[in-house]
Symmetry: D2
Subunit: 282 residues, 4 copies
């Protein structure tokens, strides 16, 4: 039994659903799950579909899908082999809360993925990586060595067949070189309720503005800082009694959960991106 | 152009989605929206489908669907004409907050339904009904007159072709006579986070137990008190400083929104009930 | 028995609490409630105190407090007579949801205040004011007549001894003339999670940015648009399926509750403002 | 400079606040923070007070407080030396999520306490204790050995001067022997929104009932199962798509944060217990 997930989007047209479901049936597939959305403002049709096949050839399926459907409806589409666990590269710096959280979830089987390695610009968190038996690469980054460091990072990603990158409070701006290699595949956690408090020190800005609720946002990294497609957000109520340190501590709780949820949605292929916004199938 | 919504559930089987989508296509329908869920524990397949037809005969469709699909897959199914606004009977007592809220939403066009009348066991809220120009029937209920009162209520529902009943803090237990006439069509708002604090005076019980969060629950009424299928719930954080009166006031905010959301889900035919639980398509 | 509430703030100093509580005791007062906060970053001490007196002269108390305490600690302070219900002027435009909500709460006794009148730049909501028996003044506002309209508004406020103004989706920018007359006494409801989406059409901006949570913010109006001290905020989770109309409808639920909560905090004298931020005693 | 925290409760009486604040002043103390609450239903006065003293004798203070205040007002009271970090004994079983979370927070300096040891009825989590360099005692518990095991546990607590015990998903019912030794000092995390779903397998019960929101509750352990004073609760929205495994995973996120928050409130002496309910000063 072969299981695949299909993501499709195209201009909205009559008959797409029937045509696609027919195609699956004609290829002896059984649709296990179907999700669909139409963005009426942009007139775009989105679809996500899980199917099982008793016999299956990826090559043949791709070819037939392309010629029979994709070209006819002018579709953008992706197919995923559900048996393959996606490979995630973890980029960290000195903060350990997201790292502990993700490795704890990974250990408990909550995350259906592989972590071939952890990269950091500091050596601080190496003992944690060690205690979870995950290779740790220390790649320092300075203004002068940034291009070289990123080349090293990409080389490691290449060597391990990395599918997506997670910046778990990495604290460095990632250049277009990496972004273009991993389009909508670099997930960041920003410690504010975007679009409020873009950039550095958002908890300090939140404190200064006197907001009554703080947040965290996980998004795909794009060239514009903190402006990429939002995957997940969450918030917590605060009060005037919170110091900046209290905000930072409360924020860690948000960051952990928001980043983990975003990763889960990503690896279940529940996220589709169009025009800098996400469709999140649940 | 005819628009319909179809709700289907049956034992999970291979090929249902393709067969149903095919059937719609073969009847010259265009699927606008499809939602689906499989309850793996009970092995039940659920589906909700919105379609448009340029020409349509309800009779023919029903007959064909029954003979070609429903019997084959042993489906339970319902079809709704999306152009018909469902008719809601509002039952109230002396509390006005849900009534004001629902009539305000109704007036603003937020609720796509008709309200042929309001029934109350007291005359207290008649001026509100009057100010919104909705007929108000005062049907007092005592232990002795309950059966007769309910007969009157049902007669009114019948006369106006009522589709569903909303108990907007009606404060009376509705008998099986009404429930059986409107199965999964009597919506109640209970002022607690069910299953905590079933029955009378839940805010008093919440106060006594010292909970830090209170809630409200909207559910379909079944014969067992406050035990019917849950449609919607919401909660609010409280503290030791809240008196019972504060809880009641905070609770009103919850009740208003939870009941309104449940009604919206119901009239959009987003709710399916099976085994005392709901599937809520969003 | 006389009940008063005292609000004090000054530079943080040793011995303030004991001195103030002593002063109350020496004046035969009994402290019923005390709340206090120190902003360590700005080194400011805040205090709120409810007291009861069997015999009381406001003049004498004020004079003694001023000479014995306020001058010594260089305090800013206010005293409120708890028996006086604050007088609120309601400014509305065409949207009715906050108006219905506030008048419903007012009717139910939830709001311990007086509403001498409602002002609107349109006649649309007059019937609602009428049904609640509250005087309604239609004062149209155009660019050319704005100064004159505001003069009329202030005259009405003056004539009725208005304590504070609530802009319940008033949709007009209020000039410094009104703000200066009512410093930290003009409460606005903004339909976004400030500081995100300042200005007009925040739901459209939220839709465009693809946020997963929307919010509403109630704040005191200052000269800078949507930048005044925040009193209360709340948020709701949304998804890609929400149209702009859905956001607006969901937002109405937020606006109602957030504005009502802000008003309740204000009239209980639970809010203190310093340096464009609020201390909210609960 | 000596810092202390004082917790007081007694029948509500006139003049308590002034008398206490006076007492502190007369003993050359400066009140840094004062919190107070009156439970009007039970007529009980609660107070929490942080003070600084340039010179301080604990013995003298206690004696004077007792004779001058406590006896006069018939107070129950406790005094804490703020320089002493409370000692927490961690009891765990096989689940690691709360353990990782607490040790991560401990490491980051978020928890101002000491963890002299971890006790478990299984050896499973020893490597985690080791990686954080905290002594781990494996004390198996069976029906027959329970009394003996608890004696061992108490002996360890005694030897290390333990102040309070945290059951971080310990999965064993603690007997009255331990509870009486640590009254309102054994903190448990229950994986439901109490009082809903008391006892074993609450996520299974939540799944069966079809609730739309799940929760977690941290409370002090009393002899009645899951019925002790509630310190902290939190909830998360779920849907029909959640399997029991999904509920359990989502629940872990709740349990972590709710337990950590309860511990933080406890060690800051922000919690007061009366009649099986808590007053939580913030």
């Amino acid at each position: 039994m072969k299981k695949i997930t299909l993501q499709i989007h195209c201009k909205d047209q009559s008959g797409i659903i029937a045509t696609v479901t027919n195609f699956i049936a004609n290829n002896n597939g059984n649709i296990v799950y179907i999700d669909q959305h139409v963005d009426r403002e942009q007139d775009i049709f989105f679809m996500r579909l899980e199917s099982e096949f008793t016999s299956f050839s990826m090559e043949a399926f791709k070819l037939n899908f392309k010629t029979e459907l994709a070209e006819r409806f002018n579709m953008k589409w992706r197919i995923y082999n559900d048996e393959e666990k996606p490979k995630m590269a973890l980029f960290v710096s000195k903060y350990d809360h997201c790292l502990y959280d993700l490795l704890g979830r990974y250990n408990s089987g909550e995350l259906n993925l592989q972590i071939p390695f952890i990269i950091s610009n500091h050596n601080t968190l190496k003992p944690i990586a060690d205690s979870f038996n995950i290779p740790f690469y220390h790649i320092p980054v300075t203004k002068d060595t940034k291009a070289e460091a990123e080349a090293q990072q990409l080389k490691l990603c290449d060597a391990h067949g990395i599918d997506f990158i997670v910046l778990a409070r990495y604290m460095q701006i990632v250049s277009s070189k990496i972004i273009n290699k991993f389009p909508n595949k670099v997930i960041n956690i920003h410690h504010s309720f975007l679009p409020a408090f873009v950039g550095a020190k958002p908890y300090h800005s939140a404190y200064k503005r006197g907001v009554k609720i703080i947040g965290a946002t996980s998004h795909y990294v794009t060239e514009e800082l903190d402006a990429g497609p939002i995957i997940e957000q969450d918030v917590e109520r605060i009060s005037h009694t919170y110091t900046i340190e209290d905000l930072i501590a409360k924020g860690r709780d948000l960051e952990r959960v928001v980043l983990a949820n975003a990763i889960k949605l990503h690896i279940k292929r529940k996220v589709m991106v169009f025009n800098n916004k996400t469709v999140i199938f649940s």
